[in-house]
Subunit: 316 residues, 4 copies
C-alpha cells in the first residue's frame, strides 16, 4: 500500500494557542505536520499559496462573537478557499507568571483583547488593581513573558494551559473565565477540491450580498431558506466597506450542499442575490442532525421533481 | 399525406349558448365536429369516456365569478382531465320573444340565474314589473320559448344573439348587460397527453389543498409562488366538502410548466401540500406575456443550477 | 315594565326553507315576527329600508361554497349592513310528492340548483332516469307542487322536511344528501348599531380590495393577519366586476373587533388596502374559542402599548 | 437669564482620538467641558454613575463593522442608557513619528488593531517590512511614542491628525487609509430622560432577543418591521453568550419612536420577543429623511385607528 502524503497544517500561532489545541483535537493524534502562522491572514494565505494544505483559524466565540478577520479573509479574495471541517473547544484561561511571581505582584496583565474581554469580571474581582496590556495573541503574551521576564513590561499572561506549559510558566490561577461555558469554534480551511462527504449532520458556510439596500431585502433572502426548511445556525452582518448601511451576511446553514434542500436554497440565493460565495460544506463537530420539517427530505424533492417531469411529458 | 383525424368537440349546450360561440371562436372556422352536452358534468364526462376529444365549458365570469361545477368536476375525479386552451368572449344578451310579442307584454323572463344576475339592473330600469323564471341555460330558455310559445309559461328569454337567431326568435333589445365590459372565460378540456407548447404567454391551472387548517397555511402556499416570482391571475377557494372552514384553492398561474420558475413552484407545492392537482398549461387567449422579475428567467435558473452542480463537484 | 319592541325578521323564503329553519334555531322560540322575502336581495333591502329589523340569509354551504349573492349584496352598497349573528344547520332533504305518487312515477324533480348539486349522487343511484327542473328555492318547488299537483310540470320536489310538512306533501325518502355532514351557515343581518358584545368566541366578517393587482398583494394582505396572530376561518375571492383577474376577498376572522389583535389587524388593512368593508363582529354558533398564539392576547397588546408610552415619555 | 448648566462630556480617550474629533463635531464649538475615559466601558459607566452627562463612543466603522464593546455595554446592564445623538466622521490616518525619524527607519508601527486593519494595504505597499504592535487606541500609540521616543518599542504611530498635533509628533504621511471613503459612526449617550424631538430624519436603536432559536425566528422579527414599512439601517448579531448559535440583534431603525410606524413596530416586537431593549431615538447626522411607503405615514395610522374606534362604537 503506497504512502498517503501527510497533510501539512498551519494555524493561528504562536505555539500553544487555543488554535493549536483545536488543531490537535481535529487530527486526533499527537503527531501532525504543522507550523504556526503569525496571524489569520498569513495562515490563510499559506494555504492559498500552497505552502500548507490546511489552516486552522478561529471563526467565532460564544462570548465575543464572530472573528471578523477570518470571515473577511475567507470571503474577500478572488482565490477561493473552503472550509472542510470545524472544531469547538471550551475556552478557559490560566493566569501564568514567571516562577516566583506572587499574586499581589500582578499589576499588568497581557493577553489578546478578546481573552481580556472574557476575563474582565474575574480580574475585577480577584485582581482589582490590575490593568490590561494588549497582545497579538494569548500565546504571544506567554512567550514574551517567558523570554523577557520582568522586562516584558507586564507581570502575568492570561493564556491557555498549553501555552503556560509550553513556555515553562507557573500557573497562579486556572479555569479563569467569566462564562464557564464559553467555547470557541475553529474552522479547518483548504483550497477547493472534492467536498467532504455528507454525513447527515453538516454545515454549509456562505457569504452573501443582499439583492438591494432597501427594506425587505434581508427578509427576501431569509425566505429563500424558509421555503426550503433550511435552518441557519449563525448569521452575522459584515460591512461591505464602501459606506455605512451596506452589509454582506456571513452565515452557516444546517445541511450539506449535496442535500436537496440546501441545493435548492443556494439556487434561490444565486438567482436573487448579486453575490453568493460558497465557503464549504463539512461535518458538524457535535454530530447533531438537524430537525427536518415535513416535505424537506431529499426524497420529497426527488418525488416532486419526478412528478413535474411527468407533467411536462404529459403523464398527468 | 394521410388525413388527420378531425377533433370531436362537445360543449355546454344546447345549441346557441355562449359556450358554442366560444367554441367557434376557438377553432376559428364555421366547420367543426361538435355536439352539445346537457350540462358541464356531461360535457366533461364525454371527454373522460372518449365520446368526445375536447370539451368547451365556462370557467369564470368577470361579474359572477368562478363556475363551481367546472372547477369541482375538473378537479374532483380520479380520471384526470387537463385544460389545453382558453377563450374569453364578451357577454351581452338579447331580449328574445316569439314574433308579435310587444315589450309591454313581457311579465316573465326566463334565463339562467347567472345571466339574470348580469341583467338585473337593466330589467329593473326597462321592465320594472318583469320577474325571473330560472332556466338551465340561456339557450334552453330560448329553445323552450320557440317550441311552446305562450305555453312556455314565460314571455321572453334573455339569451345570446346566436340563440335568438338559431331558434327563430325576434329581438326586442340588444346589448343587454349591466356591465358593458362583462366577459366569460371558457376552457377547452381534453384527456391528458402531450402539453401545448409553451408560447411565452401561458397559464397553468392547479387545484391545491392546504398543508393544514391553521393560520398561515395559505401564506405558506403563496410564498412558494412568491419566492419564484410566479404571479397568480386567479385564485378561488372551494369547500373541500367535509366541513365548514376546510378549503381547496383553484388557481391560475402566469406561465407554463415547461418554464423553470413554474416548475420550481410546483415542486415546492408538491413538497408542502397534501394534494396538488395539475390541470394543464396552455396559451393565454390575450397572448399577454407576464412581467418577469429579475432572477426568474429560465436562464437564471439554469445558471444557478449549474453553479450548484459545480460546487457539488468541488469546482468552487 | 315597558314592553320591549319585538324584532321583525325577514328571511329567504318562501315559508319552509332551510333559512326559516335557521331563523327558528337562532331565536330559539316558536313565536317570532317574521316574513319571507322573495330572494336574498329583497331580504337585505327590507332591512336597509327599515321594513324589517333583521334578515336571515344563507352565507355558505359546506359542499357548494359561498353564496355569491349574499356576499355581493352585503358588501356592494353604500348603505352599510352588518352581521350580528350566525346559525349553522345540517342540510338534508326529503323527496316530497303529492299523496299517491309512487317512486316509479318520478321522472322530473324540481329543486334549487344548489340542492340538486348536493343530491345528484343519490338521484343517480335511486332514480336513475329522473331529470332536474330548476326552481328558485327548495320551498318554491314544494309550494308549486302542492298548488298545481301533476300540472306543475314535475313529479317531486327535493326540499326540507319543514317544507313538505307545511305544504301537506307526502315523503318518499328522507335524509337525502350525498354528504351526510353537509351544513349550511346562515347569517343574521341588521342595520349598523351597537355591536354584539365580545364573548371570547366570535367572528368578524370583512370584504377587502387588494392594494394592487400584482403578485404578492394577497401575501401582503395576509401578513397583516399573520403578524397579529389572527386566524381566518373563511376566505373567498369575488370578482370586482370590471375585468377578469381583479378580485375582492370576503373573509371571516376568528375574533371580535373589540379584541386588540383584531383591531390591530384592521388598522393594518385600512392602511394598505384601497377598500376595507367591515361587515360585523358576532358570536360563533359553535362557541369555540380560537387558539391564541403567545403574545396575541389583549393583555400583551396593552402591556406593549404602555411600554411604548413609557419610552415616549422618557421612562426607559 | 439664568445660566444653563453646561453638559459634562466624556469620550473614548486619550486626547486626540477620532472620538474627541467626533465630540467636537457634535457640539460644534471649541469650548466644551470634556474628559477622556480609558475605554468604552469606563466612558459609559461614568455616565451611569453621574460623573458625566454625556459620553461619546464609537458604534460602527464602515470597514470594520460594529464596535462590540459599545453594543454590549449599552445593552447589557440593568441601568439603562440611551443614545441621544450620532456623529459620522471620515477616518484617515497620519503616520506620526518623533521628529527626525525617516521613513526607512520605520520597522514597527503601533496603532489600534482596527486602525491597522484599515491601513494594511497601504503599509504593505509603502512600508513592506513594517510590522504591527497593537495599542489600546490610536491616540495611546501617539502618546506613548511622544513620551518615550525610541524607548517606546516601536518607530511610528498610525493615528489621527489631531493626535499627532496634540502630542507634538511629526507627520511622515497623511490620508493613510485603504478605503478613502471610510467613516466611523459615533453615538452620544446619556441617562434616560426626555427624548430628543422627532425631526423627520431620525434613528431608533434597539437590542432584541429572538422569540426562539428555530428557523424563521429572525424572519418573524423582521416581518414586524416590514408590515409597518419600517426600514433598518443597521443590523448586527451578537452572541447572547450562553452557547454558540444563540444571538441577540443590535439594530437601527429609520424613524423616531414618536412616529406611529415605529411605535407600532415596537409594540409588535414587545409582544413576540422575550427581550427588547430601547436604546434611544435621535436625529440622523446626515439629516436624510426616510423613504415612506404608502400607508405608513402618521396620518394613515391615525385615520385607521379612528376608523376602528368608529367600528367599535357601532358607527360603520
Amino acid at each position: 500500500m503506497p504512502d498517503q502524503p501527510v497533510a501539512r497544517y498551519t494555524y493561528l500561532g504562536p505555539e500553544g494557542t487555543f488554535t493549536e489545541a483545536a488543531l490537535r483535537a481535529f487530527v486526533g493524534t499527537e503527531q501532525v505536520d504543522s507550523e504556526p502562522a503569525a496571524d489569520v491572514v498569513s495562515a490563510l494565505e499559506a494555504v492559498r499559496g500552497g505552502h500548507a494544505d490546511l489552516a486552522v483559524v478561529p471563526m467565532e466565540n460564544s462570548v465575543e462573537g464572530g472573528v471578523n478577520v477570518t470571515m473577511d479573509t475567507l470571503a474577500g479574495s478572488r482565490e477561493p478557499l473552503v472550509i472542510v471541517g470545524e472544531v469547538v473547544v471550551p475556552v478557559s484561561f490560566v493566569l501564568a507568571v514567571v516562577p516566583g511571581t506572587r499574586r499581589e505582584d500582578v499589576r499588568w496583565i497581557s493577553t489578546h483583547p478578546h481573552a481580556w474581554a472574557q476575563c474582565r469580571g474575574w480580574v475585577a474581582r480577584e485582581l482589582a488593581d490590575a490593568a490590561h496590556m494588549p497582545a497579538t495573541s494569548t500565546a504571544a503574551a506567554a512567550a514574551l513573558l517567558a523570554e523577557r521576564g520582568r522586562e516584558a513590561g507586564f507581570d502575568a499572561a492570561l493564556c491557555s494551559a498549553l501555552s503556560a506549559q509550553r513556555y515553562g510558566l507557573e500557573t497562579l490561577a486556572e479555569g479563569v473565565a467569566d462564562n464557564p461555558h464559553a467555547v470557541t469554534r475553529f474552522v479547518v480551511v483548504s483550497r477547493p477540491g472534492p467536498l467532504p462527504e455528507a454525513t447527515g449532520a453538516d454545515k454549509t458556510t456562505l457569504m452573501v450580498h443582499l439583492p438591494d439596500n432597501e427594506a425587505g431585502a434581508l427578509l427576501t433572502m431569509l425566505e429563500q431558506f424558509a421555503v426550503r426548511g433550511v435552518n441557519l445556525s449563525r448569521i452575522e452582518s459584515r460591512p461591505i466597506g464602501d459606506s455605512l448601511g451596506r452589509y454582506s451576511f456571513s452565515m452557516d446553514l444546517e445541511g450539506h450542499v449535496a442535500e436537496e434542500r440546501v441545493a435548492a436554497a443556494l439556487i434561490g440565493l444565486h438567482r436573487v442575490c448579486p453575490l453568493v460565495r460558497f465557503l464549504g460544506s463539512y461535518p458538524r463537530w457535535d454530530r447533531r442532525a438537524p430537525h427536518m420539517a415535513p416535505g424537506t427530505h431529499d426524497a420529497d424533492f426527488v418525488a416532486a421533481r419526478e412528478w413535474v417531469e411527468d407533467l411536462r411529458a404529459g403523464r398527468v
